[in-house]
Subunit: 495 residues, 2 copies
């Protein structure tokens, strides 16, 4: 057995040699080639092909270092290069060197943010970080907690709104209450639906509020929904405004929605998972005007700011700084012993619903420290500049049609019209035909491997598939935007 456990020691030279080679492989193949235009964004394989290409079997006997490194090489090769300047498929993506170092640092220290006893440094680091971003949002006396993803952060909004209004639900649950109703944009993120399911409210109690055709909640529609629910005997609980919708990138009007919320005493949550990054830019922070009026906000640093998945915060505008603890605490006697020898107010674990919590702070802290406020702002501004450039270009290029007249966030939505459909009467049949273009073009795009842009239909846009490009990688410039247009023409003109 001694020989079997020898391979588990960092003081075994063979192990260190393996680690050095693993690092080199990750650096060269995943980070350098994976972000270079000289290499593809992906090498597509269908699931059954990939299954037979990857050697994923775990055997009774140990594998050699060579075998493991080979496996790692294959893993990298067939993984999507989400940090590549031509990966525009999703709201996450781009790779930051400092946040990579932060991620490795966190895993190597294998800390667990629940007690100061086992995690002193990162608890203090989080404290500093939250002070900084709470000030930026305008929750001067707020509080915050990292959550495992934006959905989890959004779950917290219902949870906290519910606790604030009906603290007895913590003990007795929802049985016997009049149904609580939550309101969100019909263009809002589906995590609010999942939150309603998971937290026991049920998805029928999440009301989708009509938008204005450009993705913004219509405040008068919101009020109409609330009134109708009050008439039916429901209990309106909270509103989720979206600061940067997933598909269209629309920012809700926070002051107008806040007014409605105040009138009916509802919690206002801003889902800024995607668009929160604009707060870091003097030029673009107006998009979240009124953020200080919200009761809570979720903000994913793994989106516009480009740190690895996932780095998500839930922020709460709570001068008492006690609401998170009161809503969540279970006071486990084995973890939060009151007779410890240090100031146990630093044992922050009972503020959340997780017990063990992985360290996410290092990814964003190291990045921000390295780039400074200036560098973070430059990242964001560059994304908006690219979006502006592309929007103008799409507007003036034959065969492309913008879904919205203007972009708000750094997502730009458009239809691509192949040659045979140009200059035709745009009747129902034409739109149905156009609907089928996107999946075909996407298949060609993925097989070519030079570009990744998502398509989807949208109920508010007649269910006709369109493309949505996400621009956040600071390595991108105008030439990359030009490339998008050229590649669409090359791949799609004969469709």
């Amino acid at each position: 057995m001694a020989s079997l456990t020898k391979g588990m020691s960092f003081n075994n030279p063979e192990v260190i040699k393996f680690l050095d080679e693993a690092y080199r492989l990750i650096k060269e193949e995943a980070l350098q080639k994976g972000t270079s235009r000289d290499y593809p964004v992906l090498e597509f394989m269908h699931p059954h092909e990939l299954e037979s290409t990857l050697d994923l079997e775990i055997t009774a006997e140990p594998a050699s270092h060579e075998q493991i490194l080979d496996a790692m090489k294959n893993i990298i090769r067939y993984s999507i290069k989400t940090g590549h300047p031509r990966f525009h498929n999703q709201l996450f993506g781009s790779l930051d060197p400092y946040s990579q170092a932060g991620a490795w640092l966190a895993s190597s220290l294998n800390a667990n943010i629940h007690t100061y006893e086992v995690c002193p440094v990162f608890i203090i680091m989080e404290k500093y970080f939250f002070q900084k971003i709470l000030n930026i949002v305008g929750f001067e006396h707020g509080d915050g907690v990292f959550c495992p993803g934006g959905s989890a952060s959004n779950f917290f909004s219902i949870h906290l709104a519910r606790f604030k209004k009906f603290p007895e639900a913590k003990k007795n649950g929802l049985f016997g209450s009049a149904p609580f109703r939550c309101y969100a944009s019909e263009d809002g993120h589906y995590s609010m639906q999942k939150a309603a399911i998971f937290l026991g409210l049920g998805m029928n109690n999440l009301v989708g509020v009509k938008t204005d055709g450009r993705g913004h909640i219509i405040p008068s529609e919101l009020e109409r929904c609330i009134k109708a629910d009050l008439d039916k005997g429901y209990t309106p609980l909270m509103v989720t405004a979206t600061s940067g919708t997933t598909v269209l990138g629309s920012y809700d009007d926070l002051p107008a929605i806040s007014k409605v919320c105040k009138k009916y005493d509802l919690w206002l949550h801003a889902d800024a998972c995607w668009g929160g990054g604009a707060l870091l830019s003097k030029k673009h922070r107006h998009l979240l005007k009124g953020s200080h009026l919200c009761n809570s906000m979720s903000w994913n640093f793994h989106k516009m700011t480009g740190v690895p998945v996932q780095t998500s915060v839930f922020l709460i505008n709570d001068p008492s700084k006690k609401l998170l603890e009161e809503a969540n605490s279970a006071k486990a006697e084995y973890l939060f012993q009151p007779d410890k020898h240090y100031d146990t107010s630093y044992d922050v674990g009972d503020k959340t619903v997780q017990c063990g919590r992985a360290v996410d702070i290092t990814k964003v802290w190291l990045q921000w420290r390295a780039l400074g406020d200036e560098g973070m702002e430059a990242r964001i501004d560059r994304g908006f500049e690219n979006a502006r450039y592309l929007t103008q270009k799409l507007r003036s290029t034959e065969g492309f049609r913008l879904v919205l007249p203007e972009f708000e966030c750094t997502n730009v939505s458009f239809w691509y019209i192949p040659h045979r459909l140009r200059g035709q009467v745009e009747d129902n049949k034409w739109w149905q035909e156009l609907h089928k273009i996107a999946p075909k073009l996407k298949e060609r795009m993925v097989k070519a491997g030079n570009l990744m842009i998502q398509y989807q239909p949208l109920s508010t846009k007649g269910f006709v598939n369109f493309f949505r490009i996400i621009i956040l990688n600071p390595l991108c410039g105008p030439r990359d935007m030009d490339f998008v247009i050229e590649e669409f023409e090359r791949l799609g003109k004969d469709l």
Copy 2:
């Protein structure tokens, strides 16, 4: 702005130089020194001291690479070395070289497991992995999903049990239902309480079932609780059995509890977050005898198997393989487009409540591939051997008293009795005095920095603080167990 974004490129030689140095620092300081007996487990500082020692301010201007590396050095220095062979404080800990490589690999590829489109490799890797562990548990036709921690996995048990029994709750919530009741051991983990709060059941609807003094649910007590609730008009929903309790390490009798569950048609969940690792050992898997009789199980690979926090699975004994999807799906049209060009059954994202999900599989897959089944078994067996050795030694050494007559899992609980309390009448006053010893000894231990072992009181053990040592690091041997005893005597004899 070009100069500001230059620092964000992996093709900038300065950036690569920084990464090389960051890697070297992590390797030498966190991994090598951090797991060596020649270096301390921790350098304790009180929160206010640490705040002024760490330079955590983020400035407007970028920091130099030197400054960032200095910051990293300090972060490592003052972090607890949870991979150190003398860190026995918590159920996580120990560092595995291969799972470190797996963690770095995952962050560098920054994948997001929701669609095959953006995450082909890891979706297939998870599929293989789940087949393997479902077979080990005995859920041959089961299904599984990674969750952000053991608490989240436990949350899923209530969620799935609720959906199975009352699928309409997905749409309508819990309003108007008779209260659902969940049962767990009074020695069970507090995450079930948090689950009851978060999922809208309320903590009063989680019933703590009496244990037998050695941490096991008494099946007749369980049945008594269920009957009493039925009489009161409640709706019994599920039972959580614990396979390795947090403090005492006790394994519940799954076949006996399953019998009760079958009789009353209740879901049976096994919380094997801590003790699940025993399934990997032929010698010790009997501890989870009857695991195949459960409806679900949670199992943390970041505990007994020593991969970084967090790597937790929720497993479900569901031959239909549809329950996760049915309970959780919201069918977001922007993510799960039905007209994709590949087999969309590989788009697994709607099986869970997260949208973005970080990749955890690499940490355990690389470790297991490297060690083989044999190496994984050797890890587990070594932990049990050390626990056996220490238990015998504690039993025969003056001044130590075991809390339980025998150990079950690799946690061993004991009281340390300083010299002045030995040979006294053990009346109430004596026990009250003993209660105060542990915090004092812990303070000395932490300040000495050579060892970390947790203490806590337990309601079922008269609320008298005792120590609980967690043994899982495969680097540990008998000499490390001897060291525990010597260090307690050195630090505590005059208390």
